[in-house]
């Protein structure tokens, strides 16, 4: 609670706040982190497995195998989202499922499913990137900023 806000409260309210804080269930941050670490790592393990599969059995080298791997992971994530399985995993693992590319696929697919009743154009088309849009915007922006920094360092710093 911010100090400024605290001043506006009556003593009774302040007392109540401290009492509520005492009984509030604490967020298990460390436990969540470990869950996210393990599940996120497992997703990456599957991704590595898929990549190795493409390298061994198709004409991809390590670098070019990245594209079909990402496509496969997105496909799996979208399927799981459609079946309602991914939500369950996400509830358990939190950021572990949101940070890899599967989280992005989930956010697009779930928004599309949710707004299907509003029609294909204004419903699905308009709302599909409601959540994923911010990822794209800030991803592009961050890439832009980093590219500028790199250009400055490499071009003028002579690295």
């Amino acid at each position: 609670m911010a100090d400024q806000k605290k001043k506006n409260l009556t003593p009774v309210q302040q007392e109540y706040h401290s009492l509520a804080k005492k009984h509030e269930i604490q967020r298990p941050v460390l436990k969540n982190c470990i869950k996210a670490f393990l599940v996120g790592g497992f997703i990456c393990f599957i991704g590595q497995f898929v990549q190795t599969f493409y390298v061994h059995f198709f004409e991809f080298n390590e670098r070019t195998a990245g594209n079909p791997t990402v496509a496969t992971m997105i496909f799996i994530a979208v399927l799981l989202t459609g079946f309602g399985v991914y939500d369950r995993i996400a509830q358990f693992a939190g950021a572990g499922t949101a940070v890899p590319v599967t989280g992005f696929a989930n956010s697009v697919a779930s928004a599309a499913i949710e707004h299907r009743t509003e029609g294909y154009v204004l419903g699905v088309g308009g709302n599909m990137f409601k959540l994923a849009g911010s990822v794209i915007v800030f991803g592009t922006f961050a890439a832009f900023v980093i590219a500028i920094i790199k250009t400055l360092i490499v071009g003028w710093g002579g690295l």
Partner: protein
């Protein structure tokens, strides 16, 4: 009390997860396949290059063939040293170039190149491939190397 217990357990899990990579995966050096001179292409240059690259500390396994003055080498690098793949590639390249200044040296750390070279190496060793097919395979491997 409960908090302390979970904290302790989580630290234990974290430490074991992180260090397991270091204990279990310590790869040992694998002896390269020495092919010799009397095959479709004389492989003595490749044999010697393999020995040179394998002598590097970071490299655990190496495959390679040569077609006359073109040497194709693929190295498998130890886990942690994979952070410095670029430097290792350059070092290996310089090492071979120093030994064979006339040769065109191609060094890769790519898994696909490694697998393809392994296959080709074995085929040459067993005399199961003719000159034309070797050239075709090498062209394919060169494409993989450039990406």
């Amino acid at each position: 009390m409960k908090m302390k217990k979970t904290f302790f357990f989580s630290i234990l899990i974290l430490v074991s997860v992180i260090t397991a990579c270091n204990i279990g995966g310590q790869a040992e050096e694998v002896k390269p396949l020495f092919i010799g001179a009397n095959k479709v292409f004389d492989q003595t240059i490749a044999d010697e290059s393999k020995q040179l690259v394998l002598s590097m500390e970071e490299v655990v396994e190496v495959k390679g063939v040569n077609k006359e003055e073109n040497i194709y080498i693929a190295a498998k690098v130890k886990q942690f040293d994979r952070f410095f793949l670029d430097r290792i590639r350059n070092e290996a390249h310089d090492k071979i170039k120093k030994r064979f200044p006339e040769a065109n040296v191609h060094v890769s750390t790519d898994k696909k190149v490694f697998l393809e070279l392994e296959k080709l190496e074995r085929k040459i060793y067993q005399n199961k491939i003719n000159k034309e097919n070797v050239e075709k395979q090498i062209k394919k491997i060169e494409d993989f190397m450039t990406g």
